[in-house]
């Protein structure tokens, strides 16, 4: 089993978001970066599959050098080697193009990533990669097992889920509960330092670009209603907020 796991490096989900340079740049000051939470699930399942079926896990990041701590963490969790495409991941098609180019040269049985990144929330990179490689893609996948050349999956659909089966190779966008997040142990952290991390140059160009950022308007003050008068809330929702 030869698995490629694509990880994003994103601000910790508790980060306070702000912008600089006249709201044209994301303010990285004081931001703690993490492996994309959904990508982390994909990585955990990949490592489990390697442990049970044998094979290799390669981790791929499209990003600048500041993503390397996250790549090393993925190696510490159990990936064997890593590739970083040295460019800011600005656009879904562009990122997918980099992944597809790397993947074309190697014949991966599985290409796993999160259902979406938690910064730009587009959720389309896996589908574009699948199309560019001419390989089936599914998302969001919440269970995955492999038997020989065959994958059994559970995919979340609106208002429920479906079980499906397909032949490898596959590109999958993953989400919980596909696996439990893994925490690297000391031995993993030590060995990760010497595992190979190859840096390659990008090709192609972004099809989208951000002109300006802005924050949502501040929320007005909360209107408190005494608990003993709770029924009053329903009247306010009807006459004042007009949502009932």
């Amino acid at each position: 089993m030869k698995i490629l796991v694509c990880i994003s490096s994103v601000p910790d989900t508790t980060s306070k978001i702000s912008f600089t340079d006249g709201d044209t740049q994301f303010n990285k000051t004081g931001i703690q970066y993490i492996i994309g939470p959904y990508d982390d699930y994909a990585l955990a399942r990949a490592v489990e599959l390697k442990e049970s079926l044998g094979g290799t896990v390669t981790v791929l990041n499209v990003g600048l050098a500041d993503a390397e701590p996250q790549i090393r963490k993925a190696l510490a969790i159990g990936a064997d080697d890593a590739i970083r495409v040295d460019v800011e991941p600005t656009d879904s098609y562009f990122v997918a193009e980099q992944i597809a180019r790397i993947a074309k040269a190697e014949n991966y049985d599985l290409i796993l990533m999160g259902r979406e990144t938690t910064d730009y929330n587009s959720g389309v990179v896996h589908g574009i990669v699948g199309e560019l490689l001419g390989v089936a893609s599914f998302s969001p996948v919440m269970e995955l097992s492999i038997e020989g050349n065959h994958a059994k999956m559970t995919r979340e659909i609106e208002g429920g889920k479906e079980k499906l089966e397909a032949s490898l190779p596959l590109v999958l966008g993953c989400q919980e509960p596909i696996a439990e997040w893994k925490i690297p142990n000391m031995r993993g952290i030590m060995t990760a330092r010497t595992k190979p991390l190859k840096v390659v140059a990008p090709s192609g160009e972004s099809l989208t670009s951000i002109d300006k950022y802005n924050l949502p308007p501040a929320k007005g003050a909360v209107k408190m209603i005494p608990a003993e008068d709770a029924g009053q809330l329903i009247r306010l929702l009807q006459t004042e907020a007009k949502v009932l």
Partner: protein, 320 residues
């Protein structure tokens, strides 16, 4: 410019979010001087599909072959590509959903199209083609330029206010021959979630956290949801503890909802939870802890015991 809107069907009906997408597409067509064609894949009556006209679609292409009744990402993306080629569309609009994302992503890959999701406003055409989209799970917005020839726009639910007319769309059967390989993946079972109202589409949501104290105490929350006709939801700890099913989990790594009303019962309001609900129009928080951070994000708050407050709310709804 010719605009194609990919719409989704649920149980033979056009989804509400798809009407929002049709309306958005019709406004974009108006701005760029073109017409809107809708593409519907799956099972629906001509009368139902004609309703696409109420929101501005001139025509509906209906790929209604029985082989397409079961949603199929690969087959649907092939149908979408055929529709793009038939209509010469330069702009593809859809309502963001996990299926629409998966289908339009593949089409974007084939067309080398820039994709922008969670779009909240009509485009700005003053210089190029820019759309405003929600990013960081609703914590910010980004005005994004799309420079590719063909553009894919996935709109955020409940962000676009629609106007309904009595126009009907002409429905045209759309059949294409699909390679057998697109049906390689087999759906072996479909499990519909219990609960009367589908959470991702719901206008009203009642949600419970650890303050509900255990799965056996959920009845007062379910009673309020039933009285309101609301969907039920829960926080991540609750689904992790298996008190409620995973598909009810809203938050950063769960379902992102954007209802008109979100009522949070016994949820403290961790930032990861807020990421899933911050697009709600009105937020009500009920919590016995007056210091719960969720109150800062709320429009209305009640400090009190949920088991005391919920029955009072249910009674007040029933008295409306």
């Amino acid at each position: 410019m010719s605009v194609l809107v990919y719409i989704e069907l649920a149980e033979g009906s056009i989804k509400k979010t798809s009407f929002e997408a049709i309306f958005y597409a019709s406004k974009v067509a108006e701005m760029t001087g073109g017409s809107v064609t809708a593409l519907a894949i799956g099972e629906a009556s001509a009368a139902e599909l004609g309703k696409a006209g109420n929101y501005g679609a001139a025509k509906v292409l209906h790929a209604g072959d029985s082989s397409l009744f079961q949603s199929n990402i690969i087959a649907y993306s092939k149908v979408l590509l055929e529709a793009v080629s038939k209509t010469g569309a330069k702009i593809i609009v859809t309502a963001k959903s996990s299926l629409a994302d998966a289908v339009t992503a593949r089409a974007a890959g084939a067309l080398k199209a820039g994709v922008v999701g969670n779009v909240t406003e009509l485009p700005d055409l003053s210089s190029g083609f820019k759309v405003k989209r929600s990013i960081f799970s609703g914590k910010a917005f980004a005005l994004t330029q799309i420079s590719s020839d063909i553009k894919v726009i996935a709109i955020k639910k409940n962000a676009i206010s629609t106007v309904e007319t009595s126009s009907e769309a002409a429905v045209e059967s759309f059949s294409i021959s699909l390679d057998a390989s697109v049906f390689d993946a087999k759906v072996t079972e479909t499990v519909k979630a219990s609960g009367a109202v589908s959470l991702p589409e719901a206008d009203l949501v009642v949600s419970g956290g650890r303050g509900m104290k255990g799965p056996e105490h959920w009845q007062p929350l379910l009673d309020l949801a039933e009285a309101l006709g609301a969907a039920t939801a829960c926080s991540k700890p609750v689904s992790d503890l298996d008190w409620r099913p995973h598909h009810e989990h809203v938050g950063q790594t769960g379902v992102k909802v954007a209802p008109n009303l979100y009522i949070a019962c016994g949820i403290s309001g961790a930032i990861q939870h807020l990421a899933g609900v911050n697009s709600s129009k009105v937020i009500v928080v009920i919590n016995k802890d007056p210091e719960a951070p969720f109150f800062k994000a709320a429009d209305y708050g009640i400090v009190g015991d949920v088991f005391d407050v919920l029955p009072k709310l249910t009674a007040a709804v029933k008295a409306l």
